[in-house]
């Protein structure tokens, strides 16, 4: 799968899907320890793809590598069929890729408003920042009431909104989400994932999402990749995993 | 010739100091800035006993060691509850307090006036009064310090120290009482530094607080780091190099005031350069790189 990317890569396939994000034979890890042993995956435009698997399977690591938080040892990342040579966070943000790290991280010492300003730091002017904020507030009106509150004092659900808001303020085309349900009480989880689906529908954003709450994520994702020991052990449309036995087989 | 011997004696005294600090910083990963204080405790205890009650050299030396060990507990037990930067700061605080005592408890230490007239040592019948004899004594003590540290590091005790340096949690999980090891090693290190202090006091025959400042601690740290922390020969290389280097400057014909500053500048630059390009030191293995 090497060589120059050709334009034909971006053309719609038979189902009318357009490739948006593609990863080919990616290998990475921390220090000496290899965590991802050659993963290839593909996300189409406006699609929600879930990445599931056990603790330590390498899901978070994969997202970090795609976003350039850790160096890629081997393999390539393609965006719109164009290879991204060595992904760097600020460059990816500019091309419309946003990443929300694990556990809905926000700047706890900053206020909600300041958090959003930081989220929009790469925007070229104030106008767009303002517009972005407005958009975030229409999505999450709850945040608007808490503009001056320190983010550390927000509830779990609000933190999740803010973490998403920090990314959405840039109106990204691709969202990389790392376990948005982490630390949320069970009733809030489906709510949180519902929000993500809503955003995906409204703004046609492409979503690659890492989740542990498999049942919940299967409700919103279109396709699934199961990671085991740094390799893809299963891939297919979510329907295939709706079957209890199949789910048990690939997941447990 | 006398001069060369003098340099060598100093080299040996500093070797004792670097070996003692390396046991703590290099082998156990505890970077202490209080080494000069223990060096001073050895020097002062010994000097006071010998000048005030005319105790023999060996008694002074042993008393210095004993006092240093006692005070090491006062310093280490609370400081060891802290980690990394905080531990460094705590030892720094103790160094400054102890220095303040040397400098200000005039009734005991005569403060900045120092203690003159410390007699040269007599060990049994051996009166150590020539430079050559001093060199022999200093080398014997340096070898003793080396022997102690080597015995410790090459034993199961040293294995546990190594584990504490690399991963204290692992050591604890394997049933090692890490606090006991650290306190013990702190005491041994203080004892060796005190021994160096006692030797120094009897060699120079005059001590004042300026020899035991935090800068002296930093000098010893520099020696260990430049030589190579956590290695057999690193402390020796560091001590000899940093003792002889400024003397070389003097030979070039620089006035001594300039040479003193220039020496420090070289130490400082070496520290920076070492950290940037060779954090493990000239002959060392361990680079403070947890």
């Amino acid at each position: 799968m090497s060589g120059k990317p050709s334009l034909s890569d971006t053309k719609a396939d038979a189902n009318g899907f357009v490739e948006h994000l593609r990863i080919v034979d990616l290998v990475t890890g921390y220090g000496k320890k290899q965590v991802i042993n050659g993963v290839s995956l593909e996300v189409s435009r406006s699609e929600i793809v879930a990445l599931i698997g056990h603790n330590g399977a390498g899901k978070s690591t994969l997202l970090k590598a795609i976003f350039g938080m850790i160096p890629i040892w081997q393999g390539q990342v393609f965006l719109d069929g164009q290879v991204v040579p060595a992904p760097k966070p600020h460059e990816l943000l500019r091309t419309g890729v946003s990443y929300v790290p694990q556990g809905n991280r926000v700047f706890t010492d900053l206020t909600v408003c300041e958090n959003l300003e930081m989220g929009g730091i790469t925007l070229p002017d104030k106008q767009r920042l303002k517009k972005g904020m407005e958009r975030v507030f229409t999505l999450f009106p709850a945040l608007k009431d808490r503009l001056k509150q320190r983010a550390g004092t927000l509830s779990g659900g609000e933190k999740q909104m803010l973490a998403l808001g920090n990314a959405l303020i840039l109106s990204p085309k691709v969202l990389l989400l790392d376990e948005p349900s982490l630390g949320l009480a069970p009733p809030l989880i489906s709510e949180a994932l519902g929000r993500i689906r809503q955003i995906n529908r409204d703004s046609c954003v492409t979503v690659l999402i890492v989740e542990q709450k498999v049942r919940e994520i299967l409700k919103i994702a279109k396709r699934v990749y199961v990671l085991r020991n740094g390799c893809v052990s299963f891939t297919g449309p979510t329907e295939e995993l709706k079957d209890e036995l199949k789910l048990r087989e690939v997941y447990l | 010739m006398e001069y060369l011997l003098h340099i060598l004696v100093l080299g040996a005294v500093y070797t004792v100091l670097t070996v003692s600090l390396d046991l703590l910083a290099g082998r156990t990963g505890l970077l202490s800035i209080a080494q000069a204080a223990f060096y001073g405790i050895g020097a002062y205890t010994s000097a006071l006993l010998v000048t005030q009650v005319e105790a023999p050299f060996l008694v002074g030396l042993l008393a210095g060691v004993a006092v240093a060990v006692l005070i090491s507990f006062i310093v280490s037990l609370p400081s060891l509850r802290l980690h990394d930067d905080y531990f460094v700061i705590a030892t720094f605080g103790f160094q400054m307090i102890l220095f303040s005592i040397f400098n200000n408890w005039i009734g005991l230490t005569r403060g900045p006036m120092g203690i003159p007239g410390i007699p040269q040592p007599v060990i049994l019948r051996w009166r150590v009064d020539t430079h050559l004899e001093f060199l022999v004594l200093a080398i014997v003590l340096a070898c003793f310090a080396y022997l102690v540290v080597w015995r410790i590091t090459s034993s199961p005790f040293g294995r546990a120290l190594h584990a504490i340096r690399e991963d204290e949690v692992f050591a604890k999980a394997l049933g090692k009482n890490t606090l006991r090891f650290k306190v013990t090693v702190f005491a041994v290190s203080a004892a060796l530094a005190a021994m160096a202090g006692s030797l120094y006091a009897h060699y120079i025959t005059y001590i004042d607080p300026t020899s035991f400042t935090v800068m002296e601690s930093i000098l010893v740290i520099s020696m260990v780091i430049i030589g190579g922390a956590g290695s057999l020969w690193g402390p020796l290389v560091g001590a000899v190099l940093l003792v002889t280097l400024p003397e070389a400057l003097r030979f070039v014909g620089l006035p001594s005031a300039v040479a003193a500053n220039l020496r420090q500048i070289i130490y400082g630059s070496l520290l920076v350069i070492m950290m940037m390009f060779r954090p493990r030191g000239l002959v060392g293995k361990y680079g403070f790189s947890k």
């Binding site: 976003f67 700047f107 930081m118 | 700061i89 605080g93 790189s289």
Partner: protein
Amino acid sequence: MLQALINGLIAGCGYGLVAVGFALVYAVFRILHVANGGIYATAAYVVCWLTVDRGFGAPAAISAGILVGGTLGWLVETRIYRPLRHSNSSSLVLLIASLGVLIVVQNLLSLVFGDGTRTLRPGVVQSAIVIGSLHITLLQVAIVVVSTLLYVVTSTILFLTRIGCLVRAVADDHYLATVVGVPTDRVLLLVMVGASALASGAAILVAYDTDLTPMMGFEAVFIGITATVVGGMGSFPGAWLGGLLIGLARNLGGWWLPARWQDAVVFAVLVVFLLLRPQGFFGKPLKKAHL
């Protein structure tokens, strides 16, 4: 007693500023930036050299001093800290390198300007406000005013501007700052230059009040460290208050004890805080280094 209190406050104002610079760097870099002491002393010496030896006016000299301090900070960050950070060195490695810089700078100063004490104070008798037995020079009033002003300006920048927000974001969560696209290296550089300028300003103020020695940088470091520990590592108001407290402790300690024990008082405070309340007044609880 009251005189000691006031002297303590005046000294504390200078210390507070030193501590704020120190705390700022610690909050953002998570390192003990002892090299700041070298920058501090250099700035004071530059001003002294320009005014006393070269006959420049105070404003020009002070600007030059701050400029030199800032430049030194820039050099330390770009030439030493940044490469070390990028090679994932531990904080101890950075501390040792920083110490090396302090030693080099301090000895360069004593090489060039001599070991002796130098003074910046104008030769003329200083006008003073005398209230009863209290004696406060106008210069001291100026020191308090300028120092407070500098603190207020720094806090305003930190808490009310966009740049300040960036700095706080990096201090809060370096990783997340990178994720949202904050140019962290540039922010760090800015903080370093700012903290250096602040230290330079503090140095110049203190130099006008007391005298200059090449060791003054070292003194600034230990006061900076103590004040930040007392106030709580990484807390700006805490550092400022810590500085004031240390000024008071030194001078009030001098009231009961002979003056030569002043430093011992400071370190006793440091050790007591480290042992009983290592997070200081306003800091967050220390994280245990385990698990």
